[in-house]
Amino acid sequence: MDNAALPSCSHLPVASGIGLRAAHHEHVATERPEIAWLEVHTENFLGGGAAPALLDTVRERYAISLHGVGLSLGSAEGLDENHLSRVAALVRRIDPAAVSDHVSWSVTRGVYFNDLLPIPYDEETLGIIARNVMRFQDAIGRPVMVENPSTYLRHAQSDRAESQFLRELCQRSGCGLLLDVNNVFVSSENHGDDAHAYLAAVAHLPIGEIHLSGHHLRQIGNRAIRIDDHGSAVSDQVWSLYEHALALIGPRPTLIEWDSALPPLETLLAEAKKAQRRLDHAKGSVA
C-alpha cells in the first residue's frame, strides 16, 4: 500500500477501492468488507444529518475520497461560494485522503443541470476553470484532482486537444489529474481519436487516482455512440487500456465506479479484485 510515489493531491492507498452508494451504506458500516478505500459523492453528504454521521463511522476503517459532482468548475460565473463552504466544512470534518471534481460545468444562473456538461478547450475557458480550481483549493487548503470527462460532442471554438488543456490546467492551478480510463475510451471512440496517444500525452501529469467503470453503446439510426452510464462491468477494451495506462504511469489508486443499476456489493468487490490483480502486476514490474 505504499503511496510514496503519489503526487501531493492524493493520499489514497495505492490499491483498488469502490464507490460507496446509499444502497450499500448500512452493509459497509456494519460488515466492514475487505477493501482499501471508498469514494463517495461529496454532494450526498452535505446535509449535516445522518449521512455525514455515517461517513464519520466508515472513515475509522477506510481511507475516504470525496468526489464532487456539483462544484461546476467550468462555470463562467465562478463557483457558488455557499456550496463551496459546505464542501469545505465536510473536508474539515472527514479529513479525506483525496478531494476531486470534474472538468465540466453544471450550473448557470441559478439552475443546476445535474450533468457533467462539456466545456470548449480554449484560452478563455482555461483561464476560468484554472481560477475556479484555485479558489476550490484555497477554500479547502489542499490540492485537488480534476477528472477528464466523457464527451459526446466537440465545440467548434476549441483550439487545442483535451489532453493539452488538462496539462495547462494542472500547470496553471497546481491541481492533479484524476484519470478516468473509461472516459478516455468513450471520448476517443466517440470522436475517432487515439486513446493510446491521449494516455501518452497525460502520462507525465500528477495523476493521483484512476477511475474505471462501465459504459454502453447506444444506437442512433444506423450509427452508434458510447454512453458513460456507470451501469455495468468494466469492458474488456477498458481493462486493456487500463493495463496500458499502468505500464505508462505506474500503479495508482484505482476506483471501481458503479452508479446506475447498482449490483450487490459483492459484485463491486469482485471488480475491485480484478483491478487489484493488475495493480499488483504493475507494482511487480516497477519493483
Binding site: 446509499a22 454532494e43 450526498n44 452535505l46 446535509g47 449535516g48 444529518g49 445522518a50 449521512a51 454521521a53 459532482v69 456539483g70 462544484l71 461546476s72 467550468g74 462555470s75 463562467a76 460565473e77 457558488d80 456550496h83 460545468w105 453544471s106 450550473v107 448557470t108 444562473r109 441559478g110 439552475v111 443546476y112 443541470f113 445535474n114 450533468d115 456538461l117 462539456p118 466545456i119 470548449p120 478563455e124 475557458t125 476560468i128 459526446y152 460532442l153 466537440r154 465545440h155 467548434a156 471554438q157 475517432g192 447506444r218 442512433i220 450509427r223 455512440i225 454512453i227 446506475s260
Partner: protein
C-alpha cells in the same frame, strides 16, 4: 462565443429543447450538432427523473413508472434544481402533483409524496443542540416560562387526510397488498423526526400538533404551552415528555 454566452445557450436548449442557437457551436460529423446535444439533454432529464424516483419510491409505485416519468420530466423542466445537492431536490414535487388534473381523484398520492420528502428532510437535517430534561429541570419557573425555543430542523410535521403512514409502511415489502388498507379519509397529523440515527414516525394528537405548530418559529416555552390547548397539566406534561424524548426542541438562546 464567450463561455458565459455559450452556457446561456445551453441553459436555453436544455430547458426548452430549442437548439437553433447552440447547434452551430457544435462540430457536426457523423452526427449533427442537434443529435449530439440530444444526448446531454436526455442525460439531464433522465438523471433528474431518476433522482426523483429515488426520493419518492412509494409515490413512484402508486403512480406507475410511465405516469411518474412523464410527470417527473415535466416537473424537471418547470422546476429544475437550484442547488447541487439532489437530496434537497423535490420539495415542490408533492405540490406539483396535487395540481395535476389527472390526479384530482387521487389526492392521497401527493400526501404520500409530502410524507416521503419529510422523511428525506428529517434524515438530512443538521444535528442541533436540543433542549434536554436537565435544561428544564435546572431552570426556575419564571425562566422556564420565558425560555426561548423553536422546533428542531429534523422535526417535520405532515398533516394528511389519507392513511399515508399505512400506505408507506405497506410498500416496504415487494408486491404490497393495498387491499387491506382502509382508505377512508381521516385527518391526522404525522410527525417525522430523527432523534438519533433512525427515523421515527408518530401520529400527533391535536394539542401536540398545536404545540409543534406554535414552536415552528422562535417563541417562548410559556407562550407555546398556552397556545397548544392542552386541557390540564397532565396533558401538557405528555407533550413536554414527547418533545424531550424525541429531541424536538432547540433552545433559541444565543
Amino acid at each position: 462565443m464567450r463561455l458565459a454566452d455559450l452556457q446561456g445557450a445551453y441553459r436555453h436548449y436544455l430547458l426548452t429543447g430549442d437548439s437553433a442557437q447552440l447547434a452551430p457551436a457544435i462540430v457536426a460529423d457523423a452526427f449533427d450538432g442537434a443529435e449530439r446535444l440530444g444526448i446531454y439533454r436526455n442525460n439531464f432529464l433522465v438523471g433528474l427523473s431518476e433522482a426523483l424516483k429515488a426520493n419518492f419510491p412509494v409515490t413512484l409505485h402508486l403512480l406507475g413508472r410511465d405516469f411518474f416519468e412523464q410527470a417527473a420530466r415535466r416537473f424537471v423542466l418547470a422546476r429544475p434544481p437550484r442547488r447541487p445537492c439532489l437530496f434537497e431536490y423535490g420539495a415542490e414535487f408533492p405540490g406539483y402533483l396535487s395540481d395535476l388534473p389527472e390526479l384530482g381523484a387521487l389526492p392521497y398520492v401527493s400526501e404520500v409524496a409530502r410524507f416521503e420528502f419529510a422523511r428525506i428532510a428529517s434524515y438530512n437535517a443538521a444535528v442541533e443542540r436540543y433542549v434536554s430534561p436537565d435544561t428544564l429541570a435546572n431552570l426556575p419557573p419564571d425562566q422556564l416560562e420565558a425560555l426561548p425555543i423553536r422546533r428542531a430542523q429534523h422535526a417535520q410535521v405532515v398533516p394528511v387526510k389519507a392513511p399515508v403512514a399505512e400506505l408507506w409502511k405497506a410498500h416496504q415489502v415487494p408486491d404490497p397488498d393495498l387491499s387491506v388498507i382502509d382508505m377512508t379519509a381521516r385527518p391526522q397529523v404525522l410527525l417525522v423526526c430523527r432523534p438519533d440515527r433512525a427515523l421515527v414516525v408518530r401520529e400527533l394528537d391535536a394539542p401536540a400538533a398545536q404545540f409543534l405548530a406554535a414552536v415552528q418559529d422562535e417563541t417562548q416555552l410559556g407562550a407555546a404551552a398556552a397556545q397548544c390547548g392542552a386541557e390540564d397539566d397532565m396533558a401538557l406534561g405528555r407533550i413536554i415528555a414527547l418533545v424531550l424524548e424525541l429531541r424536538l426542541l432547540v433552545s433559541a438562546r444565543a
